[in-house]
């Protein structure tokens, strides 16, 4: 999908109008951002916004995350284990100590 984020009142107003008149192409709207379908029309609408408002319009291409494909087991397991921790106030860094779960620094450094 195409994620369009606006950074000025004018760009936000244009996005609002675009969303109103192209409901079928808008997957979801969030305030000053919207997810558009990844079609040529979605691209056309995004590029029109950028043409009009320049760098006040950010366009990203997004896709749903398949955690079983893109995320290593250790990360999924760490997330599951941490959410099932006994002590809700334990920060993850402390939780990971002495376990097989990766420490936050290691998580930060490794790209998906």
């Amino acid at each position: 999908m195409l994620l369009v984020v606006t950074y000025s009142r004018a760009a936000r107003a244009t996005l609002r109008n675009v969303c109103r008149s192209h409901e079928a192409t808008v997957v979801r709207r969030f305030g000053r951002a919207a997810l558009l379908e990844e079609t040529e029309l979605g691209a056309f609408l995004s590029l029109r916004l950028r043409e009009k408002h320049g760098e006040d319009v950010q366009i990203e291409r997004t896709s749903p995350l398949n955690e079983f494909e893109a995320v290593p087991d250790r990360v999924r397991e760490a997330a599951r284990a941490y959410e099932r921790r006994d002590e809700p106030s334990t920060p993850y860094a402390k939780f990971a100590v002495g376990t097989d779960h990766p420490d936050p620094e290691a998580l930060r450094e490794r790209d998906l």
Partner: protein
């Protein structure tokens, strides 16, 4: 009263003077309004008068066809009397900060184009290398002269290496540019937040200024001809827009003449009395 001698309207060679002027019909009111406001003046109409205050934009041309927002007009009327909104200091500082905040332009289009171009030539070359490898094998299989194909393949492989290097460099440049753009976007976000703050403060200022003269406005609607129920706030006003316009004019301090195109008055003097302002009546 001191302004009386300062007001004069010249129409096609004839001059009309004074705080109240009855102009004959036939002249478009907009021409007189433009002359008074000094905007886009008609060569046939000339006005000499005090410079109109912003409230003139709201009540300076009394006609049903003129767009009118009661709250904005009331706020302008309050300002014409020297009232200031409690939001003003906050508004000024927000506007100042906004003026200082000019995020640098970071156009990434060139960086993106470079990556796309490099990527496209790389895949073309990859295909060419594959084709040449196939051809080399084919020539070899039939026992032909492999040298020309091998030379061509060698050149293509060298070129591919170069293009690969360019593609990697282009991607790294884009990545860095994206990282810079992120911090610029933080500033853009801050600017948007300030823009919203300014807009909200302006709206609140209009509300409180409008509220500060609302009682007087309500009293004015009761005095002026025309049916109107003012209620307690601009949103509650029920009645003719023209009546509201006249009542705001009466509340406001207006030095430049009000052009009365329609309304319940049969003379400029009557209108000037009711509106407590200089009047040009058509």
């Amino acid at each position: 009263m001191s302004a009386t001698s300062e007001i004069s309207i010249r129409v096609d060679g004839a001059t009309y003077r004074g705080r109240t002027i009855d102009l004959g019909t036939g002249l478009p009111a907009t021409a007189v309004v433009s002359a008074i406001r000094g905007e886009d003046p008609d060569p046939w109409v000339e006005a000499t008068c005090p410079r109109p205050a912003p409230v003139h934009d709201h009540v300076g041309h009394v006609a049903p066809s003129v767009p009118f927002s009661l709250r904005a007009a009331l706020a302008a009327a309050a300002r014409s009397r020297g009232e200031t909104a409690p939001q003003r200091p906050a508004l000024e500082s927000a506007r100042e900060r906004l003026a200082e905040l000019t995020p640098p332009e970071a156009d990434l289009a060139d960086a993106r184009r470079r990556v796309a171009t490099a990527g496209a030539s790389e895949s073309q070359l990859r295909e060419r290398v594959a084709t040449l490898r196939g051809r080399l094998q084919a020539v070899r299989d039939v026992g032909g002269d492999v040298d020309p194909v091998r030379t061509e393949l060698q050149a293509a492989i060298e070129e591919l290496t170069e293009v690969e290097t360019e593609r990697i460099a282009a991607e790294q440049a884009l990545e860095m540019a994206e990282r810079d753009a992120r911090s610029v976007r933080d500033r853009r976000e801050e600017r948007l937040r300030l823009e919203d703050r300014v807009a909200n403060l302006e709206r609140d200022a209009r509300r409180s200024l409008a509220a500060s003269v609302y009682e007087e406005f309500a009293a004015a609607t009761a005095v002026l001809p025309g049916a109107a129920a003012a209620g307690d706030a601009p949103g509650e006003f029920e009645g003719e827009t023209l009546t509201a316009m006249l009542a705001v004019a009466r509340v406001a301090d207006v030095d430049a003449p009000i052009v009365v195109e329609s309304g319940p008055f049969d003379s400029a003097a009557g209108a000037a009395d009711a509106l407590d302002a200089p009047v040009v009546r058509l």
